[in-house]
């Protein structure tokens, strides 16, 4: 990294902070701050949706899978999301637009009451902590500038917190537009240069095993199934919900998601190809750092700084969005319903800003504690799916028929069984070096069974469904009919 690279990066960070400050002078109410007053139009939605979902977990996680196993990363790790996004846009978004909600747990509160709201808010909080992006930022500043990992983590989180606190979702969405453009353009340039240097993708094929170019790769079928299943998280994704509530109209949401899917598919494919390129070039590093190491070495001065700024942008657009949500979970979804149901707007705004700070501190602590990326992502999405998918989708599809006990039983049993499964596999199993995850080999009915920790959702989702049916059967109907 040269002085020019560092100047480019600093100019970007400075610009983002100035934007946050400018927006903060226009924030009048909690709604303005938290869902941008419901004023997000299509281009803003595209930018904020695409860049928020594309955190370093995808950039590093996707390239990690591609580096290890090839194009399976695109076909099984990310492609199921496009299908889920399209289904969610068509079947869920317009039902959400009918209500006046601000968050995912609001949906549970409306249909099942405070208990279910609390369980789902906890799951949403766990899911939304942006520790992967914060970890990634620490890694980048280490690889690019030799800054100690701990400092990178703290510095990156601090900048994101400051402008999120100032401008809320408006500042978040506006900076997302810059971050979105920066990350798309720099990745496209980097890919073109790396491909030229390596003689194109066809040259890579000759130096890699044939499985790298087979859509199924060499992962076990059940793991691919779980990768695919984790796309269900889209249906109860807090950031997705928040942006639907913030959109000017349902049409704006549909258009944004349609454009978004095309851009996501292109982005993912490039990430996959760069992961494979790193494998073909024989980059000698941990799988999750392969992409960064390859690209930063390949780019000339100035462009390397721009790419680093693009990666920082990728991380920050995720960190700010999810800090806003996890802070909102603490203040708006957990504290308010139990302690201050009649809280006024100004106090809510102030309280949530403090909660954002708290969420950032928890995330930094966890980022310094954990190491792996793909496993952590599957763990977080499993928690969310297990607790929220069944109760929220049933409530949206069969409103008026659901019973409070069903929601509570379903969310508690889902979250509980997922956590128990993870604890059991981690206690009984061992880390498998080849796959980089925890696997527990057990004998059941005379057969060898390899239980990956990723399988938790296969247990938790049926448990959550069963508990919902039991709660519905045994529980009392709601006191008044709900719309």
């Amino acid at each position: 990294m040269t002085g020019l690279d560092i100047a480019v990066l600093l100019a970007y960070v400075g610009g983002v902070l100035v934007l946050g400050w400018a927006v903060s002078r226009r924030i009048g109410s909690f709604r303005d701050w938290f869902v941008a007053g419901g004023q997000l139009t299509t281009p803003l939605l595209v930018c904020t949706l695409v860049s928020t979902y594309y955190g370093l977990d995808v950039l590093l996680g996707g390239s990690e899978v591609a580096f290890i196993d090839g194009v399976v990363a695109w076909f099984w790790y990310v492609r199921p999301y496009y299908l889920a996004i399209i289904l969610a846009a068509v079947f869920v978004a317009h039902r959400l637009k009918r209500y006046d909600f601000l968050s995912l747990p609001d949906v549970a509160a409306h249909h099942y009451g405070r208990g279910t709201q609390t369980v789902i808010a906890l799951a949403s909080f766990l899911y939304s902590l942006p520790l992967l992006a914060i970890m990634g930022l620490g890694v980048l500043l280490d690889v690019a500038f030799g800054l100690p990992f701990v400092w990178g983590v703290v510095l990156g989180a601090a900048v994101s917190v400051v402008y999120t606190l100032m401008g809320g979702l408006v500042a978040d969405a506006l900076t997302d537009t810059v971050q979105f453009t920066l990350m798309c353009v720099t990745l496209a340039i980097a890919a073109a240069i790396v491909l030229e240097a390596q003689g194109g993708i066809d040259a890579m094929r000759t130096s890699l095993p044939e499985t790298y170019f087979q859509p199924m790769g060499s992962y076990p079928g059940w793991v691919l199934f779980v990768f695919g299943l984790s796309a269900l998280s889209v249906f109860v994704e807090p950031a997705f919900y928040q942006r639907i509530f913030a959109a000017t109209s349902y049409r704006a949401v549909l258009a944004a998601l349609g454009i978004g899917v095309v851009l996501w598919a292109a982005f993912d494919w490039i990430v996959t190809v760069l992961g494979i390129a790193a494998a073909a070039a024989g980059v000698d590093t941990e799988p999750r750092y392969a992409l960064l190491t390859l690209v930063i070495e390949a780019l000339p001065a100035g462009l390397a700084g721009l790419f680093a700024a693009g990666v920082v942008a990728t991380a920050m657009s995720t960190i700010d969005s999810y800090l806003l949500i996890s802070g909102g979970n603490i203040a708006y979804d957990l504290y308010r319903p139990w302690r201050r149901p009649d809280i006024d707007d100004r106090s809510m705004l102030r309280l949530t800003r403090w909660a954002v700070l708290l969420a950032a501190i928890v995330s930094v602590a966890l980022a310094l504690f954990f190491r792996s990326i793909v496993s952590a992502w599957i763990f977080m999405s499993t928690m969310l799916i297990s607790a929220a998918l069944v109760p929220v989708l049933v409530a949206l599809w069969l409103p008026g028929r659901v019973r409070p006990a069903a929601g509570l039983a379903s969310s508690l049993a889902g979250l509980g069984s997922a956590l128990l499964f993870f604890i059991a596999v981690n206690a009984g199993g061992a880390t498998d070096e080849e796959w980089g995850t925890v696997i527990w080999n057990v004998r059941l009915l005379g057969r060898e069974l390899a239980l990956w920790q990723e399988y938790a959702v296969l247990v938790a989702l049926p448990v959550s469904m069963l508990a919902f049916l039991l709660g519905h059967w045994l529980g009392a109907p709601p006191r008044e009919a709900r719309p």
Binding site: P43, V71, F180, D202, I259, L263, A266
Partner: protein, 34 residues
């Protein structure tokens, strides 16, 4: 050129041109509002 190579260059074009178009749309909208 193989199918993989065509897909890759198409993806590069979509990212570069697509994101620039969306950004231009955003700027145009910002100007209209003012």
């Amino acid at each position: 050129m193989s199918g993989w190579a065509i897909a890759t260059w198409a993806a590069i074009a979509v990212l570069g041109v697509g994101s620039a178009l969306v950004f231009a749309w955003f700027i145009a909208e910002l100007r209209r509002r003012r």
